[in-house]
Assembly symmetry: C2
Homo-oligomer: 218 residues x 2
Amino acid sequence: MNEHAFSTAERAAVYRAIAERRDMRHFCPNSQVAPEVLQRLLQAAHQAPSVGLMQPWRFIRITDNALRTQIAALVEAERQRTAEALGPRKAQFLQLKVEGIRDCAELLVVALCEAREQYIFGRRTLPQMDLASAACAIQNLWLAARAEGLGLGWVSLFEPAELGALLNIPADAEAIAIVCLGPVDAFYAQPMLIEQGWSSAQPLSDLMAENRWPSSKA
Amino acid sequence: MNEHAFSTAERAAVYRAIAERRDMRHFCPNSQVAPEVLQRLLQAAHQAPSVGLMQPWRFIRITDNALRTQIAALVEAERQRTAEALGPRKAQFLQLKVEGIRDCAELLVVALCEAREQYIFGRRTLPQMDLASAACAIQNLWLAARAEGLGLGWVSLFEPAELGALLNIPADAEAIAIVCLGPVDAFYAQPMLIEQGWSSAQPLSDLMAENRWPSSKA
């Protein structure tokens, strides 16, 4: 323990948020998120680290129901294309609930900003660090939402150019997430894809190495 | 408030970790991270969401001091190349401390796993969601470290192919982060790049829009 450590109770709360956060697909219809809660969550996202302090994240709050319906249709089209691409797992995939766009209280689109090429610090060899920063922002939002008792689902089943056209996103910006947010009846006890038998989790020990990539996995 | 919400104190702890987390470059030399703390932090990372449950993150703990020195040299070379690329800001950039590789107690390299093309769920149109998942894992690690009173810095000033060659990373895997972790004398009150006058933060309100990309920014 050191002088900068949080109290035992505070540390437990942070680890609880990390452990109980889930990628949610089931939301309570006709529910709401209080404006001050939404603001807190977005401020939490906005406190994320970003490469060279570029803060590349942009948030588009979808309040137009017609637009929400169009976004749901875009995702449904990609769900069908993904199902085809999955070949033998098509039927199993189609049984999964992969988004809660129509039911969630709040729908957000997260995009990377335009003119990102001007940011060189930390990106000369790894330009994709802009996406990494925006993902950290979404993870902040996710954890804060869990603490507030709200579910969040990051949907990436969409064609960015199609969603960009729908929302007037400039060609050099890029949508990276459709975020479903809102009250849920219950959080999954485990990740939904485990509960539904789509996949199983790998133990951390299998993903660790010391000094060099493990030769058995190379 | 709802039945799934954390207590007021727990919520405050989660928001505290989010607010006080910093991208650290200054570490206490000759310090250590207890093995059980390191394990907790890596388990926190491993509890991150991942697209299609692919869990693409791989962690390489660097315990060989000669290797640490070689990694520091790789980063120094990229620091010089970045300085050149920054043109008029070269001198200002070179005054910044951009990494704590030699001083940090623990040095980790995070990489994306090999054979990622087999994961199609959520990645058919957005293959870069693997990076997004790994970034969420690093953000979990970052927040948990802050709660433990430990600093973390994500260094992206390196050439992935060079680092990959040094650590025997397969060609279809990819290093995305050099993570410096360990005790610090003090956390920056603000992001270091603000304190050092490199950049200023944008207000959240400038990064928000409703329904469509703001026309003034398009």
